[in-house]
């Protein structure tokens, strides 16, 4: 048992170190962007005086290293600083946006993960027969089309032509859960189509892989039905790779939905980040980058931990 604890501790420590290096990369990356925030805030209407005044006020004249360490110190205390452009508290704003993004990601996951696993199982059950081929064809087609195109096509037919759903997925606090679910129907549909194929294919492949094992043969020889073989014997052994791909796609649902958020005007992290990148609002970009990195690293860590717990062989590295 202590062996597992040690492995897990190692894995968590590794994630934290990774996150630290990512923070350096993020900071360095935002520094080398062309232009500066003062210029970008004022845009084409920047006069030299206004520019100088704004630069001084925003503290842009301090050296980069000083700014990095004061930023990191703040982050460790849970203080993400204030946005240069609007002067608002970043943690507060990001909290709201992140909540929205997680809300969308949650419902997309609620639809796509069970659906993907079910379709994967179904594909194995009818391997190389028409249901398998149909499922693969449809999901692979969906993943091959750019998200914005799927979004526009759904918007045009389902929202504009048929009027079934809203083309604007702008949720706000005054809405009930039911109203929110109604307006996010289309983005959830797009996200589901985008992540479905990956998870479905992985489920199918992982289970087929396990199906080659001798214990499956034994189970089959015992006379168990094919579905029971898959469900009772193959699936538990295929959990690790499936969890891996599910986590990867969950991470995508949180950090990769910029395009979908823009198309459906969803007030999530994506739009928030894009606006601030455009204005060179460095603290916000850094905060978002760090949160995205943490989500990615965190979900990957969870996937690894599940793998370690699910597969005894990984606990005894050679």
């Amino acid at each position: 048992m202590s062996q597992i604890a040690k492995l897990l501790a190692q894995r968590v420590a590794l994630s934290l170190i990774l996150l630290f290096f990512v923070s350096i990369l993020i900071f360095a990356g935002t520094i080398i962007l062309p232009g500066d925030v003062a210029q970008s805030i004022l845009g084409q209407s920047a006069t030299p005086e206004a520019l100088a005044n704004l630069r001084a006020e925003l503290g842009l004249n301090e050296p980069a290293l000083t700014r990095y360490f004061s930023w990191l110190g703040g982050v460790l205390h849970g203080d993400l600083g204030t946005a240069l452009t609007s002067g608002q508290d970043i943690a507060e704003n990001v909290g709201k946006r992140l909540g929205n993004t997680l809300f969308l990601a949650f419902w997309a996951a609620m639809v796509s993960v069970p659906l993907a696993i079910f379709l994967g199982l179904l594909a194995v059950r009818y391997r190389d027969r028409w249901p398998d081929k149909l499922i693969s064809a449809v999901t692979l087609t969906a993943i091959s089309i750019p998200e914005f195109l799927i979004g526009y096509v759904l918007m045009f037919f389902v929202a504009v032509k048929l009027g079934w759903f809203s083309s604007v997925a702008m949720i706000n606090d005054t809405m009930t859960l039911g109203q929110k679910l109604y307006v996010i129907a289309l983005p959830v549909a797009v996200l589901t189509l985008v992540v479905l194929a990956h998870m479905m294919r992985m489920t199918r492949a992982a289970i087929l892989n396990v199906m080659q094992s001798s214990y499956i043969e034994t189970a089959e020889l015992k006379g168990l039905s094919l579905f029971k073989v898959i469900y009772r014997h193959a699936f538990p052994n295929a959990i690790a790779p499936i969890v891996n791909v599910v986590m990867l796609n969950l991470a995508y649902l949180v950090v990769g939905v910029v395009v979908v958020e823009v198309v459906f005007v969803y007030p999530g992290m994506g739009q928030y980040l894009v606006d601030h990148v455009a204005k060179r609002d460095v603290p916000v970009v850094q905060a978002c980058g760090l949160i995205f990195a943490a989500v990615y690293i965190g979900l990957n860590m969870v996937a690894d931990i599940v793998s370690i717990l699910a597969n005894p062989r990984l606990r005894h590295p050679k």
């Binding site: 062309p34 210029q39 084409q44 005044n53 526009y152 918007m155 604007v168 702008m170 823009v262």
Partner: protein
């Protein structure tokens, strides 16, 4: 068919179709004259303002990083928000003149160097506080302070002194300016309690609405201001959504989620207009898409080379292909008919022979580098490619370098000698020239240094005789047309669209976006 007949009736009321034609069309649809007349009457009734309801608009340009401080407002969303909660001293009227808002009336001294504004009595801010001359003076002072970050700072630079005289505000200028009232209509200069020094983004003003719900870059809700003095604002509630994606904005209108959108992409405007429940509106404006050359940098420091490029551009082709016809041909000055004192100059047309002649005169040989990016104006890289083609026919070799959108305004515009750009225009010629063509202008993006031009500008500014001023401006336009570093192929119209759920959209003030920002206040909900 119901929709169709409604649509026809709407057209008949709006004067796009005669009554007889309407009755004929209705008959063709199998509707008797009596019924058709009733329908027409009902449609006409819908043309009278109705109070109540919600007008929802989706606009482009807002961002999470915006501020409610009017001094920092730069985009249409910000303008529309200011229009909801606040008002400047004076405002443009539909005929291109000036009408009072917070100021009831105004008058200038004979030399146009001192201006007196009489405040409207008994009006209050939305928090119930009375508007005092001190508030007005403090507002103007905040925007003219040297430390100010205000977008209006450039306009305010010539102000020597602002003082309160009883219930009046007196503005004294360093140099006379007959256009001062126009400057005071600038949307940044909205009157705030205490000048907005304490809380610049509190959104407290004298406007017809009060902001109730603010989510920067996302959504805003405003309700009627119970303290409002004027007669604007028919709807009880205004809702403004920021939708920057063109397709999403148009879809929101088509699917009935909003009633009013701005910036319909010219390419699809024709298609959008075909829908029976949507009206597309086209307003000519002072905004123009440009190619700018630095007059002090080789090879553009040669007048013949500049002329070669001016003759080498096919203006009509650009209007047709880049603006899809939603615009008009430019003439290498920033001024068009939307300015009050405009005079027409002889139109320069595409002429490859003349271009080749001037190229030869200039002695320049080799390629000319043009920088462009998508955000300098919509379709700029395509426009650059068309320019390249039309120049090639004249033997001019234009090379195009596509720059990233990010940092275009800080790294390319006003730095590189030849690039694409746009101007939004200004309410007066004086302001447009002062902003960008005076030798000492901050945004002299063509590096145009012409002493005679500068002197004429100052003379026109102080001239109170409108006929004389008009002549000076005409002469200045001619100088820019011949000598300047500006290639102005086209003026872009504002293309806006409304659903038939609302009415009252008029072309409004020439050259202003969304009826000068008053569209939601002057429109009403019909059903």
């Amino acid at each position: 068919m119901q929709d169709q007949i409604k649509f026809l009736a709407g057209h008949a009321i709006a004067g796009k179709m005669s009554r007889r034609e309407f009755l004929n069309r209705a008959a063709a649809l199998g509707i008797g004259a009596m019924t058709a007349n009733t329908l027409l009457a009902r449609a006409a009734h819908a043309q009278e303002p109705v109070n109540g309801g919600t007008i929802r608009m989706a606009l482009q340009g807002g961002s999470t990083t915006d501020s409610l401080d009017p001094a920092l407002t730069t985009n249409t969303v910000g303008l529309m928000l200011i229009r909801m909660w606040g008002e400047p001293l004076v405002e443009l009227d539909d005929d291109g003149g000036i009408t009072g808002k917070v100021a009831e009336s105004f008058e200038g001294s004979e030399d146009a160097a001192t201006w007196r504004f009489r405040l409207r009595s008994g009006i209050t801010f939305s928090n119930g506080q009375a508007v005092t001359p001190e508030d007005v003076a403090a507002t103007l002072a905040r925007h003219s302070d040297d430390e100010s970050k205000s977008g209006a700072l450039g306009l305010m630079r010539d102000i020597e002194n602002i003082r309160v005289d009883g219930s009046d505000i007196v503005i004294e200028l360093k140099t006379p300016n007959a256009d001062l009232p126009y400057l005071m209509s600038d949307y940044h200069l909205v009157i705030q309690p205490g000048g907005g020094k304490e809380a610049p983004d509190a959104a407290i003003g004298t406007g017809p609405y009060v902001l109730k719900d603010v989510d920067m870059g996302v959504r805003f809700v405003a309700e009627k201001n119970p303290h409002y003095w004027g007669d604007l604002g028919h709807a009880d509630t205004l809702e403004l959504l920021v939708i920057n994606d063109d397709t999403a904005r148009v879809a929101a209108l088509q699917s009935g989620q909003v009633d009013l959108i701005d910036r319909v992409p010219p390419r699809t405007a024709g298609l959008v207009a075909r829908a029976p429940n949507i009206d597309v509106h086209q307003t000519s404006g002072p905004g123009h898409y440009v190619f700018i050359m630095h007059c002090d940098t080789a090879p553009f420091d040669n007048k013949d080379l500049r002329l070669a490029l001016k003759y080498g551009i096919n203006r009509q082709e650009l209007v047709d292909k880049i603006l899809s016809g939603y615009g008009s041909v430019g003439n290498d000055t920033p001024i068009n008919a939307s300015y009050p004192l405009y005079t027409e100059l002889e139109q320069r047309a595409y002429d490859p022979d003349k271009a080749a002649f001037h190229l030869k005169q200039s002695g320049h040989d080799g390629p000319i580098l043009l920088r462009t990016s998508d955000n300098s104006f919509p379709g700029a890289p395509d426009a650059a490619a068309l320019f390249q083609q039309s120049c090639a026919a004249a033997g001019i070799n234009v090379e195009i370098k596509r720059e990233p959108n990010d940092g275009y305004w800080s790294e390319v515009w006003n730095k590189q000698p030849f690039c694409t750009s746009y101007w939004g225009g200004r309410p007066t010629q004086d302001q447009m020239y002062t902003t960008a063509y005076l030798s000492t202008a901050d945004w002299n993006d063509t590096r145009f240094n012409n002493e005679q031009f500068d002197q004429m500008l100052l003379a026109a500014r102080a001239e109170v005789d409108q006929a004389k001023r008009k002549q000076i401006y005409a002469d200045m336009g001619q100088i820019l047309h011949d000598e300047g570093g500006l290639i102005c192929p086209m003026f872009n119209d504002f293309v806006e669209a409304t659903s038939t759920r609302v009415a009252g959209f008029t072309p409004g003030i020439k050259g202003q976006v969304l009826m000068n920002g008053y569209a939601p206040h002057r429109m009403w909900v019909t059903g």
